[in-house]
Amino acid sequence: MKLSRRRFLTLSAASVGAITQVGRARAVRPPWAVPRKWYEGEVRTVLSYCENCFWKCGIAVRVEGGKVRKIDGQKDNPKSRGRLCPRGQAGVAQLYDPDRLKRPLIRVEGSERGEGKYREASWEEALDYVAERMLKIKEQYGPEAVAWFGHGSGDTWFVEYLPAAWGSPNAAKPAVSICTAPRETASQWTFGRPIGGHEPVDWTESRYIVLIGHHIGEDTHNTQLQDFSEALRRGAKLVVVDPRFSTAASKAHRWLPIKPGTDLALLLAWIHVLIKENLYDRDYVQKYTVGFEQLAVHSNKHTPEWAEKITEIPAGTIHAVAREMAAAAPRAVLPPGRHTVWYGDDTQRMRAVYILNALLGNYGMPGGFYLAKPPYLEKYPHPPFPLEPAAGGCSGSSGGEEEVPEGFKPRADKGKFFAKTTAIQELIEPMITGEPYPIRGLVCYGTNLFHSIPNVLRTKEALKKLNLYVAIDVLPMEHVMWADVILPECTYLERYDDLVAIAHKTPFIELRQPAVEPLWDTKPGWWIARELGLRLGLEKYFPWKNIEDYLDTRLQLIGSSLEEMKQKGTLVQRGRPYLKGWERRRRNPFGTPSGKIELYSQTFAEHGLAPLPDYTPPMPVPEGFYRLLYGRSPVHSFAKTQNNWVLMELKGTNEVWLNRAEGKRLGLAQGEYVWLENDAGVREGPVRVRLTERIRRDCVYLVHGFGHKGRGLRLAYGRGASDNALQTRYLLDPISGGAALHNNFVKIVPGAPRPKLKRIGQLARERRL
């Protein structure tokens, strides 16, 4: 970097200025001069949206000398509001990561998947290769035999657009069944509305906030953190329910160190207190809900004393919090959280959360949940797809029966659970067993197969059986280096993507535009999708020649234009956040069968599911083991930032959090290296032990996303332990299809060797472009 910035001043005749320093020659910089900083040059700003997590903050990219130098928040963007989290800021390091995929790669003929033997190819050859084999699979097995996995902005192309045009219902996003499915399904069947990617919690108007395992401050969704901080500054009281003393817990007025897996009992006890002591909002319940009578009867047995025995939280505390909640109502809220696939009964737990919110009378009210409205945005006028995309997403529709058009098969996980969105982990079995029908091909876009889907060994077995496995990605992650064809996408700073529509208090649309040209021979996702589509005989669905045409057409349909959006970055519209606004227009916000908030779900009852949530104990922890819990670090996103030198310098590894007293009992020293072995015999590590008071004795905790095994990731390789590798067991939530991941148990095996790895700073210097 230093060398490329070294400039010898060349003064043009016009720009002669008096230079005051002693002995400074006009044309040559003196030896004691220091390299110029980027902000002294000419800086232009490009407005776009971030890709470093899935919050999609509007960003202002500073470009100088043809390189991206810094990324700031966008002042007028309702997500970033001029501020940006650490990963968003560090996107520059991802752009210039020398370990990035540079050219299309094709697996050497005769080599095994996972061996890592590749040859470089042109885009033509690589795309032809993929298309040829996909068409062969379609001919032999049908279009449904190709599965499409994807996450990230480009997933609109690879999990919605292309699969629907191609005719495969087996398109899935990990964000659904490995993350938000329970809260979305529960919301759909309680409120008749999604929660959506931007949780509609009215933080700053709230007076009392109860977080159920919600890691605010560690999961660092920018706006949420801003609003949460503002709420506390305005004097809101905070209660955190978590087996671990999280960052959020450190800001709380009460921390309830709940026994893992028993949150539902606590929620039911709160419902009980609100009903029994008449603390619920009668008017609200009467006007906006159905099923209260059944709920009241059902709630009889859920006393705080009953809950105390289960949750290990004193009944007095349970009472007190319920009363405090009610006193602050309707400005008392239990936010929904995001990653809710915990124990297998998660939809029911989320139903309890929503019921509680409804009893507090906060849904659609200031300080509770606001009613998020999607922005007005038209789809591109392409011919209708043969199939409706079934992948869902953060705000995917998850209700009702899906219709399977003539000549197409239903999705391969149909019937395994109630919701109608695909569950990515349920699409792995068909690849191995061929039941209910074979899946022979996989297009995997930006989805870290070995760091997200549970039971990694099963995933590897499935990949070995496929006829075709294509990976589209930015970095040489371990799973990428198993593919038959690797198509290198350029980063978000080098490309356009589809418009993003955020349902919000003030709904808005965001544009992504490139700040610099793609490096090496990488291409944007839209281009790859289009080129592939043309080769697959899907020309009619790609009437647009390029992305500018596509975007401009969509924007023209709503009275804007691409030119306007490039200047503004974000287009904000009017919302309708509270019930009053809806009632004034005689509109009903609740899309449930009854048209009201369903405390009791008739639909669930009709499908043989419990219409009211009830508590069942989680799998017990085997003797000598600990329950494996996981979460985030604010400087990392999932498993995608561990090769980013700026972020790795701040946190270069994860550690296993173990209760100090437990550590003492096992004779462990602070910072000692250990193995983690789960109850299926899978071993991870070596990983450092963090002896701490901040966690209960019955569980351990890991930050997700470490333990990388891809050798091409020179910074990430070999650091820490992968929680996903230890998650060999999952329980399928019968309602949402979520894969519950908290039922994995590990034991600590001491005596692991200290990994011989170079320091991040040193590696970063050695690797410089």
């Binding site: 004691w32 001069a33 902000y39 660092t220 801003q226 901080s229 450190s250 800001k251 007293a661």
Partner: protein, 195 residues
């Protein structure tokens, strides 16, 4: 002239390190060194716990010990209260690094001593330091102590408690920590639990 100072409300800080990353990108901080880092301290015993997240950087002291020891005058205190380094004069002797009680300084591989500058290049244009601008919790306030209109005065007055690092060194730091949980948040004044 001005007397620039900064305030960090530790009750609000969640230790997300957005400030640390913004600083690296804004100021081209080389790998292997930090102008700004976050210290996370755990205090107490289960379940009576407190965690304090504390960003640390150069404190731009009023009586900086790093200035008198510099033999070339590269390390100096500006008229607006910033402690800066004239890199063109630095002989990289490291005397200032030795003198700093706060580990704020480091040797930039380009051959001069480097540290937090309160983003002097931004501040003098009327903008805020990069760390202040990006902080998602809004816990940082930057201002001019000599300007009665500056928001920094309100922040200092509102605070229940104001602390500085190592006051016994007599350096009179101008980075003030407000409402430190280590003193205000502890119900059970436990000492730091260290192995």
């Amino acid at each position: 002239m001005a007397r620039y100072a900064m305030v960090i409300d530790l009750e609000a800080c969640v230790g997300c390190a957005a400030c640390a990353v913004a600083c690296v990108l804004e100021n081209e901080v080389p790998p292997g060194h930090q102008r700004l880092w976050i210290r996370e301290r755990e205090l107490g015993r289960f379940p009576e716990l407190t965690v304090e997240y504390r960003p640390e950087q150069c404190l731009h002291c009023e009586r900086p010990p790093c200035v008198p020891v510099c033999p070339t005058g590269a390390s100096y205190k500006s008229e607006d209260g910033l402690v800066l380094v004239r890199a063109e004069r630095c002989i990289a002797c490291g005397a200032c690094i030795a003198a700093c009680p706060y580990d704020a300084r480091f040797m930039n591989p380009a051959g001069y001593v480097d540290k937090c500058t309160f983003c002097a290049h931004r501040v003098r244009e009327g903008r805020e330091p990069a760390c202040v601008e990006t902080c998602p919790t809004g816990c940082r306030v930057f201002g001019d102590l000599d300007d009665p209109e500056s928001p920094i005065h309100a922040a200092l007055e509102r605070a229940r408690r104001v602390d500085v690092l190592k006051p016994e060194q007599g350096t009179a730091p101008k980075l003030f920590y407000l409402n430190t949980p280590a003193r205000t948040g502890l119900r059970d004044t436990g000492k730091e639990v260290d192995a």
